[in-house]
Symmetry: C2
């Protein structure tokens, strides 16, 4: 899916919601535990209930990897089940020397057919480039939503007196255009979104941290949008675990609808 | 395996060699391609031929992940086949927000029983800590062996005028002792090994970059060793792909022996 197509979906659904499929065997409703593939069964019902209100799904790969080979099967089935007009993100945070990154690219873009993958920048250009060799997207970690983002990402570097995450955003723009590169920008730092937008005016940002992590949706949209919306805002736990009973999918759909309605309002108000 | 036990193995075998199991279906000998599990069959014969000369095996997880669920099965079988007195490293370069890192830890330390995992530092403390909750090791990326290590890792930060990788080494020592934490320090920067050793006198370093990547074994050992050797030096391609014929395992054993003999000489000369 290219940038124009993604923006089309956002306009059509009046939503920039990404639903995080952080599917944990320990948290899904008991009545699913005895189905043949509880992880896929849960995801399938979540997708059925939420797809009218979101433009992206983001399986968090750790949750599948923790289950061994069967987790990978559930992930493949989930990916195949997602409607084709919805953007897919492998939240994998990979990154390694060139020939190894090429194999991770093979895993997520060939073995599976994700539209995009999240990538860690620490190892630099040759660790990122192999993910750009196809007609696919890299979503590079810039300023993440967790507390540890204060450890290295915000360090001021002597060249230009910029923060490390700002250097990541600037330097990586030499590697790919806004048609192949997005950035992870946490909603838990809403005061910084405007300055980050200034560094990367045309790029999409994947924004985790609203919902359970406490980020402010309105501020993020007010200060983060560009001409093509430019935001995919993720919510996982607050939607997919809205209920742990038999009504989990219905409740997830209701929560997703609520977020979509807020987004619709801000899309009009701030565009 | 703890630090003392690892040093015991190094003394016993007169070797600090780690063999990288970067096993690629496209590179393994043709006569293995039609066995039931070519990846495991290759690894098994490589392990049989090289285990007298090495103290660690490091499967590069990307190579297995690129094969989908069957790759994970081959990886599990490989790990189970490695003799118990040999240290095992999941070269996965993971790192995510706390609750997600906890799941990666579950994948590599419970689903599989690796002794250690390589972790990327960019997301900071809460992305690393979940890997330290068991009696296992974190091997944190510091100064990697690839060309992209020049993009962010060597940036000078204003606090203390240190390089970013130096900050990673210093700050992370607040999170774990040398009994749970190692650092990745590439052999392709041999001139820096002495100064890195000064920052972390007691920690083990995992050193990639000799062999195919061109690092200098003698310089690394001369400037990098500490009282407990403190080095695990990785070689992958130069050993496991020494031949692509039916003699591949025998040739791998010969190459591993050659490296072990050099190591034995330097262990005496520089300790």
């Amino acid at each position: 899916m290219n940038r124009a197509q993604l923006f089309e979906q956002i306009k059509k659904k009046e939503s920039c919601l990404c639903v995080g499929l952080d599917t944990d065997l320990l948290k899904i409703p008991k009545h699913l535990q005895h189905t043949e593939d509880p992880i896929f069964e849960f995801n399938k019902q979540i997708i059925d209930a939420t797809h009218p209100y979101c433009v992206a799904y983001k399986p968090n790969i750790a949750f599948y990897e923790a289950l061994g080979p069967t987790g990978w099967v559930s992930l493949q089935k989930t990916l195949a089940y997602i409607p084709k007009d919805i953007f897919t993100i492998a939240d994998a945070k990979r990154g390694d020397i060139g020939n190894t990154s090429a194999l991770y690219a093979r895993a997520f873009f060939e073995q599976m057919n994700f539209d995009s993958i999240t990538v860690a920048p620490y190892m630099g250009e040759d660790s990122v480039k192999p993910f750009l060799m196809r007609d696919k997207w890299v979503i590079l970690l810039a300023h993440t939503s967790n507390s540890g983002s204060n450890d290295f990402q915000v360090m001021e570097v002597t060249i230009g007196k910029r923060r490390l995450y700002e250097e990541v955003i600037l330097k990586s723009q030499q590697w790919a255009t806004p048609d192949q590169l997005m950035f992870v920008v946490g909603a838990t730092h809403p005061e910084k979104i405007a300055s980050i937008r200034a560094l990367a005016p045309d790029h999409f940002f994947l924004v985790p941290g609203i919902g359970a992590q406490g980020g402010d949706l309105e501020k993020v949209m007010q200060h983060g949008m560009n001409d093509s919306c430019g935001l995919l805002i993720n919510s996982a736990r607050a939607i997919i675990y809205a209920s742990d009973g038999k009504d989990f999918a219905k409740r997830a759909g209701e929560e997703a609808l609520k977020v979509q309605q807020e987004m619709s309002e801000y899309l009009t108000k701030y565009s």
